[in-house]
């Protein structure tokens, strides 16, 4: 069941998305893991797993704890590195007919630049999402996303070597997300995606121990949606570049809420674990919402709050 509703089409810099529904990095593998459940061509875009300079084994088990209306994860950017991505994974995903965005992370500015430079050469990757907000690695990650100067520096360095659509994924674990957003926009970011997970922890009272091997981890799911909506709303009022809303989106209504507070597109994350067909259902649900309210184009309701 393909949705060809033209009212849903949006743009993020040079990328045309057939609809605003994308997938959040780390919750959608490399896309093909979902082929049994949905038609990948029906999505606006997919953001594949975080890619770093070299191979990373990630954190020890246990890496996950279920919480009320959400979950904590402490995966720690497990991936086989950018060269493996370019040589092996790229060939498996390059012909998927949607925007394929690669989430990029690193421990140093040099590592971010190295990965971005290599991905810039891949014809069928129209954009990257710079992950300056991962809470689960000791070096780098969130450190870049919680200081406006460091955030600006890494974006500036990557911008020099990357000439396609550059999305920067922001952390909510800051005093002022607007300050970080403006710093990043000032260095040439094309779009902002927000929010990454909220730093949290979970404890097993019976065993008197933390539930994660790393003690703290990133909270996601419906529990974080109010925080995410607030972040998008605040930044949308202060920045000109398009925002991709992320945080606890479980259905089309949640997606619409993000658009109402200023998001151009949205990413579905944790919901993919519970219903692997949810993204396609959200696309249809947005169409139905527009029908129900007699809205001619999704952009007519963007940022009206």
């Amino acid at each position: 069941m393909k949705n060809t509703d033209k009212r849903l089409e949006v743009r993020i810099k040079d990328m045309v998305l057939r609809n605003p529904v994308m997938t959040a990095s780390g919750t959608f593998g490399y896309g093909y893991d979902f082929e049994d459940f949905i038609n990948l061509d029906s999505l606006g875009g997919i953001v594949v797993k975080a890619t770093t300079g070299g191979n990373r084994e990630g954190n020890p088990y246990p890496r996950m704890a279920e919480t009320n209306s959400g979950m904590l994860n402490a995966v720690g950017l497990q991936n086989k590195g950018v060269d493996y991505f370019c040589e092996t994974i790229y060939n498996k995903i390059k012909d998927i007919n949607t925007n394929k965005i690669v989430n990029v992370s690193g421990s140093s500015i040099e590592e971010y630049v190295e990965v971005a430079e290599k991905l810039n050469k891949l014809e069928n990757i129209p954009g990257i999402e710079l992950n300056i907000s991962c809470p689960n690695v000791k070096q780098g990650g969130m450190a870049f996303g919680t200081d406006p100067k460091m955030a600006a520096e890494v974006v500036k360095a990557v911008r020099k070597v990357y000439n396609k659509t550059l999305i920067v994924k922001l952390s909510p674990n800051v005093t002022s997300i607007v300050e970080i957003a403006k710093a990043v926009e000032g260095e040439g970011a094309d779009s902002l995606s927000m929010i990454n997970t909220l730093l949290g922890m979970a404890v097993d009272a019976e065993k008197r121990k933390p539930l994660l091997s790393t003690i703290t981890g990133g909270l996601s799911g419906p529990a974080v949606k109010p925080v995410a909506l607030r972040c998008v709303w605040q930044v949308a009022k202060q920045c000109k570049i398009p925002i991709i809303g992320i945080g606890g989106i479980m259905d089309a209504t949640d997606a619409i809420e993000f658009i109402l507070v200023g998001a151009t597109a949205i990413e579905v994350g944790t919901a993919n674990f519970i219903n692997p067909a949810i993204t396609e259902e959200i696309v249809h649900g947005i169409s139905e919402y527009l029908d129900r309210h007699n809205i001619k184009n999704i952009s007519d309701i963007r940022g009206i709050i």
């Binding site: 919750t27 893991d33 996950m64 009320n68 979950m71 995966v75 497990q78 993919n272 219903n275």
Partner: protein, 252 residues
Amino acid sequence: MKYCKDFIVVENQTITSNLFILKLQYPETLPEIKAGQFVEILVEGNKDVFLRRPISIHDVDYKKNQISLLVQIVGKGTDKLSNIKEGDSLNLIFPLGNGFTIIGKKVLLVGGGCGAAPLLYLTRVLKEKNIKSDILVGCRDINHLFSKKEYESLSNLHIATEDGSCGIKGLVTTHKILEEEFDAIYCCGPTPMMKAISKIAKDKNIPCYVSLEHTMACGFGVCLCCVVETNKGNERTCTTGPIFLSSDLKDF
């Protein structure tokens, strides 16, 4: 191919206060399911049960298009699931994981507690392939023994109970059947038991396949939360496993 579909509950059979078997009807023709594979169940109606629950497949009946799941109540999700009634529907993602590698002419299956769950379907598959099997089941007492008749009809059943109420008294690791010759061992149960059995297999110089149980968010390979340390690095329990050759695992 993986599916995300509704099943109808045809039976919820209580075994003990914390153990039950669900028999589920698939409305279509069941796809091929390998012994050792599992399902991810959506437990609806509880805000504090957010994620699906991974449960191993206990048995498959292709003629009736039914599967059965043996479930132990370990937390809020499985507790909620234990209240499900005949006629209710359950949404499952299935079949997940790699399943057991079938080898040899004479094999031994060792199950501990509710860990023996995936071994019933394995005995069925082995019998169809004319592979002779012995199954050794360990549990607390006679009340915790399940699917006894089915095991007996498909394999040679040996039992060890902690209180001696059925079979030998003691742990499975002390059972004499372990002294016999086998081509392979298939094991599922508590980790210390699986480690002890895999050591016995190593001494016999035969392969030992173990079924791991890790917490997971998705069950189909994308969350990377259920990793286990192998000789090749961190691997996903849900897709590379849940069945591993014990010699490939770092801790074994």
